[in-house]
């Protein structure tokens, strides 16, 4: 069992890292075309080898550690922001169960009965990495960026958690595998059981909070480059910077995968193999993220905070009560 788990873990980690690498390519290409530019073109056909070139460049860079840093926290911070982002993929089911040489293999690393709770517990740990990075760097920009990041992430954390209580009310389970199975349908309207149709408000709340949680535009105050240089990772360079960069994309992939699983039926879909459906749905989420970046300007910080507490949070509570009443009436 340990051997099978290890193989699955390695496959998933490699797949997620590859996904992160080519998400950066996708982002630069899509944003480029949205702004009438070409994006990366030189490394390989359509610039497809650009992520590899970036990696080689970053690994050969000198790692400049400023003199004023707190060594331990400074070194730990990239790891602490990277691990939680990856850990989400330990519980997300990415395909239907398969049979290989007579063994039934579950296409999920760990089928926890509290899957959703695990996802939210782990994603909220990500803030520690950012806070430690900002606090230990000994730079004003870093400190401001990490303060903003922590305030923003905890403000949206509450609505983020509440946005999926509606689904739990309908499904009465926290297991991601059971949730995916519940959303399957054999009829021609294969999407008829997707939770997005039963929880439209919950989905919008999830989407908005997920963007704020991952510090992406239009909520990217923690690293607003025009005011804070690069926020919490101003003083990082070389592979440590790369780790922060990868963990940002891993976070995006994680909330995309969880969103696809909770609201769009995960790997459920007709004709195509289940893994293809899963990747397709995650890709749509990622494209939406990049699209937002190409379209919206950054929020102002006070707007962001009041939007989170005065609009999203009451709406999330309302969604819970209304869903509970509807489930009661059924």
């Amino acid at each position: 069992m340990i051997l099978i788990s290890s193989v699955k873990v390695i496959v998933v980690v490699v797949a997620v890292l590859t996904g992160c690498a080519w998400s950066t390519w996708l982002e630069r290409k899509v944003v480029g075309h949205m702004q009438h530019r070409m994006g990366p073109t030189f490394a390989g056909p359509y610039g497809l080898l650009q992520p590899i070139a970036d990696f080689i460049k970053l690994i050969f860079k000198e790692d400049i550690v400023p003199s004023g840093v707190e060594r331990v926290a400074y070194g730990l911070a990239p790891v602490l922001s990277f691990i939680p982002a990856m850990l989400v993929f330990a519980v997300v089911p990415f395909a239907a169960d398969a049979t290989l040489f007579g063994h039934e293999i579950k296409m999920v690393i760990s089928d926890l009965n509290i899957g959703i709770l695990f996802v939210f517990a782990v994603t909220s740990l990500g803030v520690y990495g950012l806070v430690m990075a900002g606090w230990s760097s000994g730079s004003k920009y870093s400190l401001l960026g990490s303060l903003r990041a922590s305030a923003q992430m905890i403000s949206y954390e509450v609505s983020y958690g509440l946005s999926i209580v509606g689904i739990v009310l309908i499904a009465n389970t926290l297991s991601l595998r059971e949730l995916v199975e519940m959303q399957g349908s054999d009829s021609i309207w294969f999407f008829s059981n997707w939770f997005v149709f039963k929880q439209p408000l919950g989905f919008l709340l999830y989407l908005t909070c997920a963007i704020a949680e991952t510090n992406r535009l239009p909520f990217d105050m923690p690293e607003a480059e025009s005011e804070l240089v690069a926020g919490y990772h101003t003083e990082y360079s070389s592979m440590r910077f790369a780790t922060f960069f990868v963990s940002e994309y891993a976070n995006m992939l994680a909330v995309s995968a969880v969103g696809a699983t909770l609201f769009f039926g995960g790997w459920q879909g007709p004709y195509l193999p289940s893994i293809v459906w899963f990747i397709l749905k995650v890709f749509c989420f990622m494209f939406f993220y990049i699209w937002l970046r190409g379209t919206f300007p950054r929020f102002r910080y006070d707007q962001l905070m009041s939007f989170g507490w005065k609009v999203l949070f009451p709406l999330a509570l309302l969604n819970v009560i209304v869903t509970a009443a509807f489930v009661m009436l059924d």
């Binding site: 400023p66 730079s139 006070d302 509970a324």
Partner: protein, 122 residues
């Protein structure tokens, strides 16, 4: 291993170990091949190419602290909501009324904070 409560968490432990190992391995690899020529001017903290002025641990807005307090209250509320939601199918109308009262009490807390002007970012 079936029915063994800790078994699913074992795979997660493997995941954490492999994840940390991967990061440390990349750091180690980078250390082997990258150049390292630090000198005092290079290791000064960044501050728009000027010498940094004063301490980097600046004073900041105490509102960050108040938001953290509000967060704790409402996150605990969310923790109470999850088990209630899982068991909702068996609990019935009584549980719904109880939870509505609970949510309304906490919502009044938010209303109070709102009226006190705590949620306003100056």
């Amino acid at each position: 291993m079936k029915g063994f409560y800790v078994a699913p968490y074992l795979s997660i432990l493997i995941f954490i170990v492999i994840g940390i190992g991967l990061v440390l391995f990349t750091f180690f690899l980078a250390r082997l091949i990258r150049p390292s020529h630090p000198y005092p001017a290079k290791t000064i903290n960044y501050e728009c190419a000027e010498l940094p002025i004063g301490d980097s641990w600046i004073q900041f807005n105490p509102r960050f602290y108040i938001f953290a307090l509000i967060f704790v209250i409402f996150d605990v509320e969310a923790v109470f909501l999850f088990p209630w939601a899982v068991a909702f199918g068996q609990l019935g109308l009584y549980a719904l009324i109880e939870m509505v009262i609970f949510i309304l009490i906490l919502f009044y807390g938010l209303y109070y904070a709102w009226k006190q002007g705590v949620l306003k970012w100056v």
